[in-house]
């Protein structure tokens, strides 16, 4: 079943053509990545889905219905963790539920059992500034999935982490995803991350963005922990090649 369908979506902001022609779809339980150079318009696609921007051309549907102004299809995790520094972790995590009108007590009852899986036990009453980068990202992720929306939009969730923490987080996230199977659209500019986590990958061109490649990743999961199979390596090299021609730097 198709959760998200974008057909020939285009967007011009001011005089800048940001999105030229974007078509993509995500099925229930599927993990799809958008891979593209910085400034391609990846975050802009998410802004269209969350309703912060409206497309000029094309059609976006969620479960076959056009996006309305107050659609509730997507849970969004911004590029920075966007945790509120004045709220304790527990209150940050339940934010989405409280905005939806769920009473605080019930929201907490739903959140607390998940703290163990997200490695946040003992930090419920800490402030975000007291957590490490990886923990903050896990808290932001917990805030996202707790909203119970049909689909998760993750904008470079591991982009700001140091290399070691990023690898730990990717491994942890793969395990979480395997047990929960959230329908996920992930934005990244990290080829290895896209290949390691996704069922399918869309590659964007430079701005104005079009989809220049769509590839499926057949490698069986779990992909972390076992040696990277040669076909995954080949795929990474192939994608990197496409991206490098897109950045247009001919050294």
């Amino acid at each position: 079943m198709t959760v998200l369908d974008m057909k020939n979506v285009g967007l011009t902001l001011g005089k800048t053509d940001v999105l030229a022609d974007i078509s993509m779809h995500v099925a229930q339980g599927e993990f799809v990545s958008i891979l593209g150079p910085s400034g391609a318009g990846k975050s802009t696609i998410f802004r269209l889905l969350t309703g912060a921007l409206h497309s000029d051309r094309g059609a976006i549907t969620c479960y076959g219905l056009p996006l309305t102004r107050n659609q509730q299809g997507f849970a969004f995790m911004p590029q920075s963790d966007a945790l509120m520094p004045w709220l304790r972790i527990l209150d940050n995590v339940t934010l989405g539920l409280e905005v939806q009108g769920v009473p605080r007590k019930e929201a907490r009852a739903r959140a607390l059992p998940l703290f163990a899986d997200f490695g946040l036990v003992g930090f419920e009453h800490r402030y975000p500034a007291q957590l490490s980068g990886g923990m903050r990202q896990r808290a932001a992720l917990l805030r996202t999935v707790l909203q119970g929306r049909p689909m998760q939009l993750l904008d470079e969730p591991f982009g700001a982490l140091d290399a070691l923490t990023r690898m730990q987080m990717q491994k942890w996230f793969e395990a979480r995803w395997q047990s929960a199977r959230w329908t996920t659209l992930l934005v990244t500019h990290d080829v290895r991350e896209a290949v390691a986590l996704s069922d399918r990958i869309y590659v964007l061109s430079r701005r104005p963005a079009t989809v220049i490649a769509e590839v499926a990743v057949p490698t069986p999961r779990p992909r972390f922990g076992s040696p990277t199979p040669p076909d995954a390596h080949a795929l990474e090299a192939h994608l990197l090649d496409i991206l490098l021609t897109q950045t247009g730097d001919t050294l």
Binding site: A52, F76, G96, Q130
Partner: protein
């Protein structure tokens, strides 16, 4: 679970020591100079004489401190309430903001020396003109602090809230208002120090009682020791109010102190 904050009292004492020492030695030098030079107390009274006069005239001084404190607190509360209500309105209506802001800026260019007598002329010798003048002086800094504070909100946090289906009102309450709190307290600490001075100035221009009146009368009867006694009280008032806001800030912005406390 509770995170124990590092105990600050000891560290605070050591940190405050240089300030205390410099103030004490300044007064000591002043006292010594007056004693050695034998200068007339009608020109420059020694700190010991000011203290002595404070004790001798404590009843008069106290009776005149109360109206000043009232004018300060009422005026400041009024200023806070108006600044808050207006800041919210301006935040929701950017066009109103563009229309009204120039007026507020102009209100800050009015010289108090000229305005104060007019306000007293219009509103009489009672509490009202003092309250209005304190408000006039402290209102704008508070308004600017709040408006700037709202604008300091992290746009990604706002975008996140909108993506959760929040209305503008919810975004204001959950993101813009808390983001403004550090700015609010910074503004509060600054304007509370203006408030006492503004009240005394308003009294000086025309009032039945107040520290401003004490200063006026003492000046007219060539009593610099009494003038300084009133000055000491006004400084103590300002310091006390400043300390109260600092304490309030410590409680309200506890999350900021929690930083780095892994």
């Amino acid at each position: 679970m509770h995170i124990p904050l590092p105990r600050r009292s000891g560290a605070g004492l050591t940190r405050g020591l240089p300030a205390v020492l410099s103030v004490v030695s300044a007064f000591a030098l002043w006292e010594i100079y007056v004693q050695i030079s034998g200068i007339s107390p009608l020109i420059l009274p020694a700190p010991s004489r000011v203290l002595e006069q404070m004790l001798l005239n404590r009843e008069v001084l106290w009776r005149n401190t109360v109206p000043t404190l009232q004018a300060t607190l009422f005026g400041f509360s009024l200023s806070l309430s108006v600044a808050f209500v207006l800041s919210v309105a301006l935040d929701f209506m950017p066009r109103l903001r563009r229309a009204l802001f120039p007026i507020f800026v102009v209100s800050q260019t009015l010289p108090l020396v000229a305005i104060a007598p007019l306000v007293v002329l219009w509103f009489g010798f009672d509490l009202t003109p003092k309250i209005l003048l304190v408000t006039l002086v402290t209102f704008f800094p508070m308004l600017v602090a709040l408006v700037d504070g709202y604008d300091s909100t992290d746009p990604e946090i706002e975008e996140l809230l909108y993506s959760m289906g929040a209305s503008k009102r919810v975004v204001f309450r959950r993101a813009r208002l808390p983001s403004a709190m550090p700015y609010f307290f910074a503004g509060l600490r600054i304007s509370i120090t203006y408030a006492v001075v503004a009240a005394i100035f308003a009294e000086y221009v025309g009032a039945r009682a107040g520290l401003g009146i004490v200063i006026l009368n003492a000046k007219n009867s060539f009593r610099p020791d009494l003038v300084l006694a009133a000055v000491v009280i006004s400084s103590v008032l300002t310091l006390a109010l400043f300390a109260a806001t600092a304490l309030l800030q410590r409680v309200a912005l506890r999350w900021r102190d929690a930083k780095g406390d892994q």
